[in-house]
Amino acid sequence: MSIERKDEHDHEAWIQEKDLTAVESTFLTVLVWLDRRLRIVDYLELLETLYYRVNLQMPKSHTEQYNLDNKFWYWYPLYSLGFFSTLAYVVAAISGALLGFYYSPSAAAGAADIEGATVAYSTVAAIMTELNFGFFLRSLHRWAAQVMTAAVFLHMLRVYFTGAYKEPREVNWLVGIVLLSLTMVFGYTGYLLPWDQLAYWAGQIGVEMSLSIPFIGEWVAQLLFGGFSLGQATLQRMYLLHVFLLPFVVTTVIAIHLGLVWMQGIAEPH
């Protein structure tokens, strides 16, 4: 707002000349007095302007312009899946950061009251049983991850069935496949972190899968799982992948993916 006063309506004069009851004019005078000092309405007017901006007239999409199918808006949810997976990623990132405060990736012997538990397992158990809202936090992180993966798959199907990968968007399709794979790796590394039975044996499958890659299998198993049997090294690696490496890589690739969409525009609903 500028320092110079806006040319304002003279409310006092207006109240004077208008035929009002005593209560009404007092009421109005008090409110005008408050408004002069607090200027809340001015700030709300900024919001009002924002509202106009948001209501810009939509350019007609292809279907609307040629009146192809007047019920087309039913399909818009499918067109928003890409953005939705980004939002789910953000939700997972926030809840994941909060979980990270309480989790520790250690395969050492954990709390004595749970038989055979590691520290990793006991911290997850503590999050779920002792931490305020910890139950909800883990639930939220897990559901956000599940939903993000589902949304990414459905997003790929939408793009496939509406031919949105065609020229000039081939590169973005390839970037999308990279993102889809990374999302699954993200999910897999997260799946191992609680270090319960499911996690352990899923890790075992992972080791066997990397071992069966021709020529470089053993090297890959060493690199990703820290050996051929699971232990502290595996857990540590999965944790680092999950909270350090993958977030940076995936966020960057998402930025590239979105940037390309931004430059090329939405492949129009046809």
């Binding site: 309506h9 409310h11 009421f27 409110l31 005008v32």
Partner: protein, 97 residues
Amino acid sequence: MADDSRERDVVVPERLYKTVTVFSTLFAVVAVVGGFVALDVATDTGSAAPEEVSVPMSLLGVALIAAGGVVYAFASRFRARGMATDKDSDDQSADNG
């Protein structure tokens, strides 16, 4: 219903209308919420025995709630130029624009 008992309408300039709406709503919200808080304090969130209820505090709560309602209702008589009056008044068609 007699005609003069109908709600009185005062047409005010648009900027003044915004002032009235914003500040009266603000006051009403603060007063009603404050009133309920006062009632809570007076009755120890509804769990106090009847003889332990603080009478002045609860009266204050009820008065605040009432004041909020009154201000909100009173403010509803001010309208900007051209704004619609009640839906079923007969000086406008019902075609909804």
